[in-house]
Amino acid sequence: MTTTRSRWMLPRKVLYALGGVILVAALSLLGWVFYLDGVVQHEFKGRLWSVPARVYAAPTDLYVGATVTSDDLDTELRRLHYRVGDPANGPGIYRRKGSDFEINTRRVRFVDEVRAPVRIRVHANGEGITGIESADGSELPLFRLDPLLIGSVFPVHGEDRIVLTPNDVPEMLVKFLKTIEDRRFDEHHGVDLRSILRAIWADVRAGQMVQGGSTLTQQLVKNYFLTDERTFGRKLKEAIMAMRLEAHYSKEEILIAYLNEIDLGQDGERAIHGFGLGSEYYFGKPIDELEPAEMALLVGLVKGPSWYDPLKHPDRARTRRNLVLKELGEAQVLDAGAVARAQAQPLGLRPAGAGYVPAFLDLVRRHLKRDYAEADLAAAGLSIYTTLDPHAQAAAERAVTNQLKRLDTIAHNRSKGAPLEAAMIIAEPTSGQVLAVVGGRDTRFLGFNRALDARRSIGSLVKPAVYLTALETGRYNAATILQDAPLELKLPDGQVWAPQNYTHEVFGSVPMVRALSESMNLATVRLGLELGLPAVADTLQKLGLERRPALNPSMLLGTVEMTPLEVIQVYTALANGGFQSRLRSVQAVLDEDGKALKSFKLEVTPAASPAAVYEVSRMMTQVTERGTGRAVGARLHVTMPAKTGTSSDLRDSWFAGFTGSHVAVAWVGYDDNRPTGLTGATGALPVWLDAMSELHLKAWQPDTPTEVEDRWIEFSTGLATEPRCSSDAVLVGVPRGTALTARQGCGQPASESVVDRVKSWLEKTVH
């Protein structure tokens, strides 16, 4: 009995134990499957595509008279990645015959509307647009081009994508993908045993893992949930999850998720996810415009996006693409002719790095930060419409790059540290829209954004504020004689301050217009002290400086430190006739559904007397005509108020000025403040001038405020005159009816008697 029992007991025990183990294992496997099932369902269903905010430049408006030349239009279309061809073939294609353009535009969302693809004809010559017609020949008053995508704001993990819906995806792409990656996608249940066996066979033959045999579903699961390790456990997990996914979701859902999720490359910090973004990133166009060769390249990238990165390894990418095309041919997805044609094509990648404007985007981020949490911006799939003018931005970047190359050879102290730097901002004064920002010599990578953060002595850029303060009192005008004479000032700390002119000359009695345009220090300090430092500081603040500058006498010569952004805010108020326009880099923010979340409205605030602003601006035109900025007048031949600025020991070189259409400021200097040996006229002015000369500037011709009149005076003496009488006659604005001392023998003879003059004076004053 016992033996029998014991003979039976042991196996039974073993069996029980075995059974228990199996049960536990089965239960835990089941539990694991349940768990994975839960993960799959929860994650997949609750998956919010992390869609970064898209940032767009301002769209270019075309209308008769717009200063968009035929070459500008060509450049603009290429910048938007329109390709040359027959517009009848679809959106994103244009044809140019001399001055005539035929364009088939893409579907595009603007701030206020979604526009379906449309065919138009545009006529442009060397001056600008001369006509726009729709396809049926009717004239269009205006037409805007697509807004250029200039960036994305994405979360820290850097996932970037353009979400596609099933309708967005070309059938051919799907066919290519299935042929190359998963031919039995439509039949299997998540795992394809046949292809696994084939892969194992291939691995055994190669002696290593060479083929995955993964279905699209498995690849999706791997991308979604798993790490990149290649272990059996992970493979099992992947297979289970893939099958659970197939159990819960349709093939279509899984396919579109795959198309949006799959990793297609890396752009610095930013991971390129999905075919929508892959198409934009590599080819600069929407997915429905891809040609077979381009689709084949993207599909080929799935196997190893960094190994086959077409931007870094074009030869590998080409080989991979052509192999994919060959397989497509063998699978009879493409006919032999199509394969050969596609294989012969270049990769067709968009130019690398074009259109990336980190310094401008930095300003956008700061402006948005006032209203949005950074995380909301990144996650919500917003569209951010900015004020950037790609043409102006390109001009500013070229100017900074080219001029620094030249200045590098002439600046002082260039070998004693980091190289010379520059910054530039261009804006539209009336509406306060920022058009371009350059933050340093490397325009593609943003380190220190000098345009926004370099707070430097502005030198004589402060002088217009001093003279404006004087004009606003009503006691001065352009002809008022100032004394440019030495002075010594005892400062509160006991030191004696004895400012000098740049040339160490002393000019004596000079009219205000000359003192300003030749940037005389002694005359300006005397004037500023007469007005009082607080009054000058008030003016700067009224014009838009958001801080109170320190009230040292030397502030009158520009020891006050400002960033280029602060400078342009102040000069915008001058350019804008005394109205402050709050600078804006963002026009509107739309949510995913195209609803405006917030528009950043144009705001103007009266800041200074329009008459006094007109007078000081008119004086500043002499800076470019005969003063320190005359190189500008010599090249651009337009009337333009401007000012040079040079800080002490030539550490900072500034130039700021405006036309009817643009206000701009440029700065050149070293980050560590070493002297550069450059003045405002030799450093910043050429940068400014190079950029502005590429833009289509409207002349500065404000309507003279009714209480001001333009009069001719002598630049050297301030005497009223006429051009035919004096070689140095300049036009100035003075309060209407101002009594000016006249040069005898010119214009109306001085016929009035003293009695008449006193009488008329009494009539004017005694009321």
Partner: protein, 190 residues
């Protein structure tokens, strides 16, 4: 110069609550509004008083010259002009008006922004913008935009009147009825 020629001096920047609109006499033929005159000074305040006379240039006798008429004709008279909108800006104004009628105020704002990018100095656009701000209830900006229109349109009588009437409406909305009335009583407003 007689009192009937007195002109409105229009303080664009108000330094005190009472200084919004000052009616002072001025000598010039009817300028509608002028820079804020320093309150302590009588009107031809712009005559340089505290500055030394310029040094006598050689061989020139000096005299005080009151804006000689010939010069005034050539350069000093504010040219009268008639502002109108170009076809592009006009199309956008019509679009903006349509958007306002449908209550799409942010859209209208964006449309006028676009128009201003085309013709930034056209006072007619600033009048449209002032109207839109008024509709939005942003009376402060409505006032500022109307003043901007008034300045830009100073050479065009009808534009000036349109801007003036709009500004008066805005001032009433801001409960500044006296200023509105003063404005409407100006000769150039009628």
């Amino acid at each position: 110069m007689a009192r009937k020629n007195s002109a409105l001096i229009f303080a664009v920047r108000r330094t005190s609550a009472t200084a919004g609109l000052l009616i002072l006499a001025a000598c010039a033929a009817p300028p509608p509004y002028q820079m804020p005159a320093p309150k302590a000074e009588p009107v031809p305040a712009a005559v340089p008083k505290e500055t030394p006379p310029p040094p006598p240039p050689p061989a020139a006798i000096q005299t005080v010259q009151e804006a000689p008429k010939s010069v005034q004709k050539e350069v000093a008279e504010p040219p009268s002009r008639a502002f109108k909108l170009g076809p592009a800006a006009l199309a956008l104004v019509n679009q903006a008006r349509g958007q306002i009628a449908k209550g799409q105020l942010p859209g209208a704002s964006a449309t006028l922004d676009r128009a201003l990018r085309i013709e930034p100095q056209n006072p007619l656009l600033w009048i449209e913008l002032a109207r839109l701000r008024l509709t939005e209830g942003d009376t402060k900006q409505a006032e500022n935009c109307a003043r901007r229109a008034l300045l830009l349109g100073s050479a065009d009588v009808s534009v000036r009147q349109a801007a003036g009437h709009l500004l008066a409406d805005v001032l009433r909305a801001l409960h500044r009825d006296d200023e509105a009335k003063d404005l409407e009583d100006q000769p150039w407003m009628n």
